[in-house]
Amino acid sequence: MYPEDLKYTKEHEWVRVVGNKAIVGITEFAQDQLGDVVFIELPEVGEKVKQFESFGTIESVKAVSDLYAPVSGEVIKVNDALEDEPERVNKDPYGEGWMLEIEIKNPAELNNLISAKEYEAYIKDQAK
């Protein structure tokens, strides 16, 4: 449920680092907690995002949540398919449900993220 090769935030985003790029989405836990996702608002390509600051919103039938950038940098790709098929986030949060690709500005920021094991321990603790 929490792939080992990804890094995580305590706000329930995951990030896959490929060279100097970071692909971003939300975790299995987040999609399960939200329930049916019906609306996603993402930034445009070219916009700059800052680590741990909001880059967009995600809405399920019942709830509205902010999305937080795991790293700072420029948005170089956006998953436009989510506009018409936001349910991809529920069905495949680590694959077709990806949201952004960010060009990493400062690789040192990756040290602020947590591992799969740490994330799992964190959400178990939250559930208590």
């Binding site: 049916d36 019906v38 609306f39 399920s60 039938v61 019942k62």
Partner: protein, 376 residues
């Protein structure tokens, strides 16, 4: 937190539980959209045991009901149900309710869970002490002794018919009767809160032992699911109950109607019968009717991308003209819809307005309601 007799069953079924008005209730089992669509196309089973029930017994029962409520209860026949409201003297809502007439001297209110204690106190305050001239009436809060299930959807009647001796083809909308479901004695009411045909099944505790009652409630729940399986019946949580009621433009107390709004503003004047004699709130409503309302509850549909949520501001140009009271993605219509109060001069159907979503104006327009109406 309070628990219904089915609490453990919901957890076993994998429901996500939430705190609703102090009750631990299932918000969803498999997903709100799926549960919503199943109720529209097949049938859904809901545990709504958190709802409150208040009983009126005695020669003064009708008199008390008439004084407390807005609708004409004198015309009801035994076995009839009526949508009605309790108002403050200001004409604003204490609650919206359904009134059940069992006999000339026995009536029952079914009230919102969030309001049960408030309503009971309000009723006692206004009947017991202030009305010594009323014929005697005993008023009891029997909410803890009653479980309530709702079976809703186009297949509801076929499913229920397999478990009851009552000929459901003779039980019309807004009628109820005593009958058994399986072996269990219930009040079968052809009512609901989804916009579909369906039933609400009251299961009263006949014994003092709550475990016996719980066993009966579980039996009815399980039997319905078992018999309903071939029709596609599934348990449905409060999440879909909310989206279903909104598509059908059924108002929700706390959102669309409150102690700050009146039946005239909420477009519910059809449940106000001024000529039935005195009732609490009558004077204020007559005055408001004469002066004209300033705001009105309207239904709107989003034109641009975005979902309106309660308390979002409604604008016309730069002018603040109102506030959203309910808003959601509507699964059956596949649209984003909502209800909100707007200034009366902007309440015409077809009016375009803006909903302020996270500081951004998003276009919407006023549309006729209900958003969804079932084919008969």
């Amino acid at each position: 937190m309070k628990k219904t007799p089915l609490n453990q069953i919901h957890k076993t079924l994998g429901a996500k539980m939430i705190d609703f008005a102090g009750w631990e209730m299932p918000v969803q089992y498999t997903g709100i959209i799926e549960e919503h669509l199943i109720t529209r196309t097949k049938a859904g089973l809901f545990d709504i045991s958190h709802m409150g029930e208040i009983l009126f017994e005695g020669p003064g029962a009708l008199q008390a009901v008439q004084y407390l409520t807005t609708n004409q209860a004198a015309k009801l026949v035994p076995g009839q149900v009526q949508y009605s409201a309790l108002l403050y003297p200001t004409g604003t809502f204490v609650d919206d309710i359904t009134v059940y007439k069992f006999s000339e001297e026995q009536f029952m209110f079914c009230v919102n869970a969030v309001n049960t204690d408030k309503d009971y106190a309000w009723i006692q305050e206004n009947i017991s002490s202030k009305k010594p001239d009323f014929a005697p009436v005993q008023i009891k809060n029997i909410s803890d002794e009653i479980a309530l299930l709702a079976l809703q959807g186009p297949k509801a009647a076929e499913i229920l018919q397999k478990l009851t001796e009552i000929d459901l083809s003779t039980l019309k909308s807004f009628r109820f009767t005593e009958g058994t479901v399986g072996e269990v004695k219930t009040w079968i009411s052809r009512t609901g809160y989804t916009g579909e045909d369906g039933f609400e099944l009251y299961i009263p505790a006949e014994e003092a032992n709550p475990e016996v009652h719980q066993g009966k409630v579980i039996e009815v729940w399980n039997k319905l699911l078992e018999v309903g399986q071939e029709y596609g019946l599934k348990p449905v949580g409060l999440g879909a109950r909310d989206t279903l009621r909104l598509e059908a433009r059924l108002v929700l107390y706390g959102n669309d109607i409150t102690d700050q709004t009146t039946p005239l503003e909420a477009d519910l004047e059809w449940i106000v019968k001024y000529d039935k004699g005195n009732f609490i709130g009558r004077e204020a409503l007559l005055k408001q009717k004469e002066q004209g309302i300033q705001k009105k509850l309207v239904g709107f549909e989003m034109i641009e991308r975005g979902i309106a949520r309660p308390h979002y501001k409604i604008l016309k140009g730069q002018e603040l003209i109102g506030e959203v009271t309910s808003g959601t993605y509507a699964p059956y219509l596949d649209k984003n819809i909502g209800l909100g109060y707007v200034k009366i001069e902007y309440s015409e159907i077809g009016t375009e307005l803006d909903i302020l979503i996270r500081d951004k104006k998003v276009k919407a327009k006023i549309v006729p309601t209900p958003f969804y109406k079932r084919k008969k």
